[in-house]
Amino acid sequence: MPKYMLMFVGSDDWYDKQSKEELDKAYQPIMKWWDDLSKTGVIKGGEELGMQRKATSVKRVNGAMKVIDGPFIESKETVGGFALIEVEDLDKAIAIAKSWPGGDVEVRPIVDHGA
């Protein structure tokens, strides 16, 4: 069965503006969504990512690897987390993405090097 990566949009801005209670409330449906889909075997793995401002990039500059503070591309919207899912086809993957209780989702097929 094909695999897809669901990439969830997150933003440091949004995170900063939430109170502790608001965050707890926002996470409840997300946790339930994650648990349900893990139990049915759709989600094969995934994590939430730390904030963009905590990113460190290692870039190749003139052949040497250089450590730089920050992400590759600074932007308001970044990947805030990801889930690896296994479903029949893109329509099923889109249906799962639509059921995500958070914000925007990018669906990317995983390249199958075995094929």
Binding site: P2, E88, D89, L90, D91, I94, A95, V107, P109, V111
Partner: protein
């Protein structure tokens, strides 16, 4: 023979895509079969069951091609396992094909090109000519779309249940855009473009045959047919655009209009209104009128009100304002149009409509300014010519 090809090319492509899961290979086999038919049929005559003949040939050519080319080796088994040669038992899988080509995960331009290529059987060169693009651009767009279908696993099937309405809407949006691309450009680009509108009408009538219970499909088909029935009156002898109000109604295709009303009756009985059905009702009210003045404007206004209730957009409000003009007068219509200035300031028809209303109210200088603004905003040659004529007339 052209009619047979039109009908069978999409059928063959659909059947082969289904079995092979490979658009390129399917299209190559179909092409081979059509070439073989072009060679044989003029000598032997068109066979009794041309579809079965083509299917058998495509199947045989497919196996030949697969054996020759190592890239397709594992697919030989798929074709040999699933023969499609029993005459008379050919499933029509074009509906699956249409939904795959118009999948929302594909860009609009790719949906258009792919539908024309795979379902209607147009060549890449024909598609490129219709959209005034280079063949290389269209070819690349097709390659990318087909690759995405395979790599992202866009399924070859008709969507089910709650997914269906949205996906039908997506298909209809593709077909309507295709139609307008051909219909609105007529006259400015030459005879070629009529074909794009005709292709869209053909595809929509195919969809209506495959999904006879979808009222919006019938609605779009009726909308297209009302428009096509007036096509001959839309341009004057010089090739300039003639507005509906000024058209020679004797040039309208009366039998086609009458027949389209049967279609309207069919969807009205389904009692499930939608935007295309309502737009077709409006087009029908125009097609039915003896003159601009005796048009059933209150009916048209009612249809616009229903359309707004489903789909409140500034452009619908702008079009509704024309009906409002004829029911309640130019002042009421102008007030409505002016309320849209923020949203539609960059839309040429907003200014053109304002120009007409201002002229009806005797505000000539304001009308000229509005027409000039409209002219600045449109690149469509037919519409430019019309506005230039209007401006020139009043400067004399």
């Amino acid at each position: 023979m052209a009619a047979v090809f039109h009908e069978e090319a999409g059928r063959l492509t659909a059947a082969l895509v289904k079995r092979l899961g490979d658009f390129d290979l399917a299209e190559e086999c179909v092409q081979d079969a059509l070439v073989a038919a072009l060679e044989h049929w003029p000598r032997t005559g068109i066979p009794d069951n041309p579809g079965a003949w083509l299917m058998t040939t495509a199947h045989r050519k497919g196996i030949d091609r697969l054996r020759r080319e190592t890239r397709y080796r594992e697919k030989v088994a798929q074709l040999e396992e699933a023969p499609m040669t029993e005459a008379g038992s050919m499933p029509d899988e074009r509906l699956e094909l249409i939904f795959t080509c118009c999948h929302p995960a594909l860009a609009r331009e790719a949906q258009l090109a792919l539908t024309l290529r795979s379902v209607a059987g147009l060549t890449t060169a024909e598609i490129a000519r219709a959209f005034l693009q280079t063949e290389a651009t269209v070819a690349q767009r097709l390659v990318r779309a087909k690759r995405k279908i395979v790599d992202a696993k866009i399924p070859f099937r008709v969507p089910e249940g709650h997914e269906l309405p949205d996906r039908v809407g997506e298909v209809l949006a593709v077909l309507y855009l295709m139609f307008n691309e051909g219909y609105l450009a007529t006259g400015s680009r030459g005879a070629m473009d009529r074909d794009l509108a005709a292709e869209a009408e053909w595809l929509t009538s195919l969809l209506a045959r495959l999904m006879p219970d979808e009222p919006e499909v019938l609605g779009l088909l009726a909308l297209m047919r009302f428009n096509l029935a007036r096509a001959d009156a839309r341009f004057d002898a010089e090739g300039d655009l003639v507005l509906l109000r000024d058209q020679d109604r004797a040039k309208w295709d009366r039998p086609a209009i009458d027949e389209t009303f049967l279609l309207v009756g069919r969807y009205l009985r389904m009692r499930n209104p939608g935007p295309y059905q309502l737009q077709a009702l409006i087009a029908g009210a125009h097609a039915d009128a003896k003159s601009w003045e005796t048009t059933r404007w209150p009916d048209i206004l009612r249809s616009y009100d229903a359309l707004l209730a489903l789909h409140d957009t500034p452009v619908v409000r702008l079009n509704r304002a024309i009906a409002l003009w004829h029911v309640e007068g130019p002042e009421a219509a102008l007030a409505e149009v002016d309320s849209l200035s923020r949203e539609l300031n960059a839309y040429h028809l907003f200014h053109a409509t304002r120009g007409e209303l201002l002229r009806a109210l005797g505000r000539t200088a304001d009308a000229r300014a509005a027409d000039a603004r409209a002219l600045e905003l449109t690149e469509n040659p037919a519409e430019r010519a019309l506005l230039e004529k209007r401006l020139a007339r009043r400067s004399r």
